[in-house]
């Protein structure tokens, strides 16, 4: 019985010592960086979103909700819906490709794995412009991969695959793929490989074993990877405009138009804040869903074990 009491006495003391002078100094630097690179720009954006737009000119400091009032418009919500749909589908597609790929990667020999990871990391160094432009060439009729079908005699004329929804999703998937792999890789390589083998010994085909045993055990990484790719593709504005038809121009494309071409910074800022809010709440929702389902499993087992120990 004395152990918990001892613990309780130790904890506050440890907490006080926890913030030594040197640690405060160490913490200060990230805090400064955070405020310089995040809080200040974000604050500026928030302030500008309430400024008054001077039609045909600039904007003036003030407080007005005019820019936000422009959201009350079916067109805006259609764009928002399209944006979410595109980012959601791209992330889902990305995961569907990245999960089996990463699984295979963790089972490769060391030096093959390193080669693949280096190749993936080099994709990260490509800018969105280069990715968008390359895919628009690859999916075009004259220079694109469709010509392989002609060469194989499957089609008479190479299909034009860009611009269109498929092209946008392809581009966004390509953009998000390395991130998805990098998030999934540690979790999948830590997963006990004998789990999959055990399921196979019990009669599950490799595919079935993967779905039944591997996927449920990397659920957290799946959620993390989804959120990562979703947020990332949500912010993309060059790929939708390079590879998409106007119907696929996402909110970020419209924000860029407002900021760069219409010089309507208050409206652009308001849309950015709104998009940020929507994506943040989505992230929180998904995270909360993930946690609560996890908690449900643990809850269940706790209650049961309590009942059992009470019974025995």
């Amino acid at each position: 019985m004395s152990a918990p009491v001892l613990n309780a006495q130790q904890t506050p003391a440890a907490a006080v010592e926890g913030f030594s002078r040197s640690e405060t100094v160490t913490l200060a630097w990230p805090m400064i960086m955070l405020s310089v690179f995040f809080v200040i720009p974000f604050g500026t954006m928030l302030a500008v979103s309430f400024f008054e737009r001077v039609p045909g000119g600039f904007f003036e400091p003030g407080f007005t909700l005019d820019s936000y009032a422009r959201f009350i418009d079916p067109f805006f919500f259609k764009s928002l819906g399209m944006t979410m749909m595109i980012a959601g589908s791209a992330s889902l597609l990305c995961l569907i490709l990245a999960v089996p790929f990463t699984w295979t990667l963790t089972r490769m020999r060391h030096h093959h794995r390193v080669l693949w990871l280096v190749a993936l990391l080099s994709i990260l160094s490509l800018s969105e412009v280069i990715i968008g432009f390359s895919w628009s060439l690859l999916l075009s009729r004259s220079t694109g991969i469709g010509n392989i079908l002609v060469w194989l005699g499957i089609e008479n004329r190479a299909p034009k695959l860009s611009p269109g929804l498929g092209a946008v999703l392809t581009g966004l998937c390509y953009l998000g793929f390395p991130y998805a792999v990098l998030v999934l890789f540690p979790q999948l390589s830590r997963l006990d490989p004998t789990l999959h083998e055990a399921a196979r010994m019990l009669g599950a085909s490799p595919r079935r074993a993967f779905m039944n045993v591997v996927l449920p055990n990397i659920a957290k990484a799946l959620v993390a990877a989804f959120i990562m790719v979703f947020v990332f593709t949500l912010g993309a504005y060059l790929i939708p405009q390079l590879l998409g038809k106007p119907q696929q121009w996402t909110l970020p494309v419209l924000i860029a138009d407002q900021a760069l071409f219409q010089s309507n910074l208050p409206f652009a800022a308001a849309m950015s804040i709104f998009l940020l809010g929507v994506s943040l709440s989505l992230v929180v929702c998904v995270g909360w869903l993930g946690r609560s389902s996890q908690a449900r499993i643990e809850d269940q087992s706790t209650t049961q074990s309590t009942t059992q120990s009470a019974a025995s």
Partner: protein
């Protein structure tokens, strides 16, 4: 179900992990694959399970070619070293996973899970999460899960290595009882020779990708085929000796190893070095006063150290160096009443007899 393994080998790149293993396992038999780590025993088990492909050779089960079947088609039960219990499923769902794949109705599955848990003496934990179980309990769940599918062959890869010593011995006995009750053909991989001696009908002692000796536990212990087996199974004293045609010379003395050993030598009569293996409990230490039996081979030794290990006394002896050979340490287990006269530093005598000495073939 009898299993025939013929000429099975496995190469990883240029390295040979397993070279041409041949092994027949009778129905209902429990075989231990015993050897140090890296000896190929786990590779062999995984090939039998279908988790690894063989580079050559064949495996048949009652004449049924297993090489044509994937792991999930073989209907073999396997217990992994890590146990590999599914963390996201309850105990019951773990046990009935294989039954669900076989489309057994839910009620029947629950019934079966309860029976299996009773069988492994773990009633009432069906709904628990596996993370709530102790090591021994997980062990039992893993065994129940593997047996739930009524496997044709039961495979265990170092199943008890995660348990502490006391629990491990109890589980060994339980496992053996269970196996005999079910009469299921079983293969256990282990590096623990005591475990192998406890559970196995026959032991295959493996090293360097080959089977060195295959035999009953007592056979392997009493009649080790070679130096590796003799030293890996239990404790032994290895004394170098020399065949000169059909005469065996041990540290300058002539020694008659018995008819069987001489017959063996007659098949290839030449002169070569060999080893004598004498188990500590079979090493005969003569009384100081006793006269040497006539014609017996007697070696002089110095007592270095005496240790009381409870049931008997362990004496550490040393054969002194001579012109040809360096000094050699020996260990003898002697009964308490015979040992009053032994003191550190004394000189004493040991007697070699054909009964208690094994001449190793290599």
């Amino acid at each position: 179900m009898s299993l025939q393994i013929a000429g099975v080998g496995k190469d990883f790149g240029k390295q040979t992990a397993l070279s041409d293993v041949t092994l027949d396992i009778a129905g209902g038999e429990l075989i231990c694959l015993l050897g140090p780590s890296g000896c190929g025993k786990t590779t062999l088990l995984r090939i039998i399970a279908g988790l690894e492909s063989a580079s050559r050779g064949s495996i048949t089960l009652d004449g049924d070619d297993l090489m044509q079947q994937a792991a999930h088609q073989r209907n073999f039960g396997m217990v992994f070293q890590s146990l590999a219990l599914f963390p996201h499923l309850s105990v019951e769902d773990n046990i009935t996973y294989g039954l669900r794949l076989r489309k057994m109705p839910a009620a029947a599955r629950r019934q079966r899970a309860a029976e299996l848990l009773d069988m492994v003496r773990l009633p009432g934990v069906a709904k628990r999460a596996v993370s709530m179980l102790s090591g021994g309990q997980r062990q039992r769940v893993a065994i129940a899960r593997a047996l739930a599918i009524e496997p044709r062959i039961f495979l265990l890869d170092e199943p008890l290595s995660a348990l502490d010593a006391g629990l491990r011995e109890a589980m060994q006995i339980e496992l053996r009882e269970l196996q005999q009750r079910l009469g299921i053909t079983t293969i256990v991989v282990t590096h623990d020779q005591r475990e192998a001696m406890t559970v196995a009908d026959r032991i295959a002692v493996m090293n360097g990708g080959t089977i060195h000796q295959m035999g009953s536990p007592i056979d392997v212990y009493r009649r080790p085929a070679d130096k590796f087996v003799a030293s890996f199974i239990g404790q032994t004293n290895l004394i170098p000796a020399t065949w000169q045609d059909d005469r065996l010379i041990v540290r300058g003395s002539l020694f008659d190893p018995g008819q069987a050993a001489r017959d063996n030598q007659h098949t290839s009569p030449d002169s070569h070095e060999t080893w004598l293996s004498i188990r500590p409990e079979e090493l005969i230490v003569l009384d100081n006063n006793a006269a040497s039996p006539p014609g017996a081979t007697i070696l002089e030794a110095t007592v270095r150290f005496i240790r009381d290990v409870g049931a008997s006394i362990e004496a550490h002896l040393e054969l002194p160096a001579n012109d040809n050979q360096p000094a050699q340490s020996l260990v003898a287990l002697v009964s308490r009443d015979k040992v009053q006269h032994l003191h550190s530093g004394d000189t004493t005598r040991i007697q070699l007899t054909a009964d208690c000495t094994v001449v190793l073939e290599t």
